[in-house]
Amino acid sequence: MSIDEILYEALLRVSGGVLTDASSVRYGEAKSYLVAAVNYVQLGNYWLEGKAEGEHAVNLMMMTPFDNVAIEYSTTRQRSFAILPTPVITLPKGRSLNITTEGGKTLIPLAMGDEAMQEFYGEHSKQIYYQLEGNTTVWFWGLENNPFLAFIRPRYIADISAMPGTTELLLPANGEKDVLDLLFSWLSGEKAAPKNYVEDGKDKSMA
């Protein structure tokens, strides 16, 4: 389902199956809720994935690919960087983001503190490393080993707030129903937005 489709369905359900003037008035409100609902469902699904093995895997089908993202150079920091086309959803260690070159070579993420270790380990490795800063900027280490690299190909769970209404939502199999239910309950005032998210994947405010 696309963003507009799911918003339409939710507003239709809230107004009892009939579109009224109030529906269009509440479109903006519904869209704000949608961002929260989608991110929430994606995040919950991410944590449940492969939990038994202690594996921190991200569902590849939830990742949107972006081709030919240009690598730029910052003269003040003397380091190469790239700006992601849309914000990336926030997951621990930036696990929602995966970057390769157009040729398919995987770039290695630097977790917190790793960039300091690069001073020692960088010369031992021919890999290209990146670190996410905020949710749109990516800084690179080790590009001097690949001086002709001009573009990257990021794949990530995109934050839908910056996306047009025709964008297809990349949700897990039962995610559309969950998003619709959340939207309906929030729009109809039945339920407060989930809070105090805990890492066991169980939300106390959800039924």
Partner: protein
Amino acid sequence: MGAVFTDQVIKEMCRETGEPGFHNYTTMQGYMLDSIRDLNIFSMPTWSVKLLPITSFNTYDWPKCCVKPILTVLARGNNRYLISVSDDIMNVTMPNQPAITPTVDPICDAMEVTGLIGQYGWDIWSWGLGERYGVETMLPPFGLVIHDKKNRQSYLKGFQVNTGDQIYLFFKDDGLDTCPEIIPAEVKEVTEFFILMKWFRVRNPNLSAGMDEKYKERLFRVQRLYSDGGEDEWIRSMNSNTMSAPKI
């Protein structure tokens, strides 16, 4: 002997410890270096090639990570000449002039080993000991190199060093200067158990202890495989004038 890329092992370990996106790559790289360091305290060989300058005393200094030089190759322009290793027993095997022209054959005359050279080629420099060094070739050797383990230098002799000459040194590496790109295939298991031992050290101490046990078991097997007496053992063997070589 097979070889495995260190990068491959690091990535496999990342996936095995639950990070298929390689978010602990840097940590694993540190563990890999620790593992190589630990194995080198025992006996794991790694190899490297480095381009070195020749000093004005016709010597080159060993890189700081060099444990044992293996092949010395002279780089002159676009040409590469393999330098034979002197066993330092008969120090007069080469006259101080280039011996590329096969018509002169000064060595044949001096050593009266024409028959042996005809039979085995020019790679026999310790012909009395039944051992063969260098590359098997019918070309006469270009020059000699004498390795000085104590000063960590090698002396070139037997040919004129020209301006711009450099040395490609292929050597046994302790793997500590730079993380080697490859490690021998037979130490992969040991490396993996060491890395897992380090990884679970704070996350699951009991599991870490189990990995440590497995590491020691495997290490014992690798030690058996690599029981090499080192340079002193080789020299003793050569001086002993027997046919047997130390086990490598």
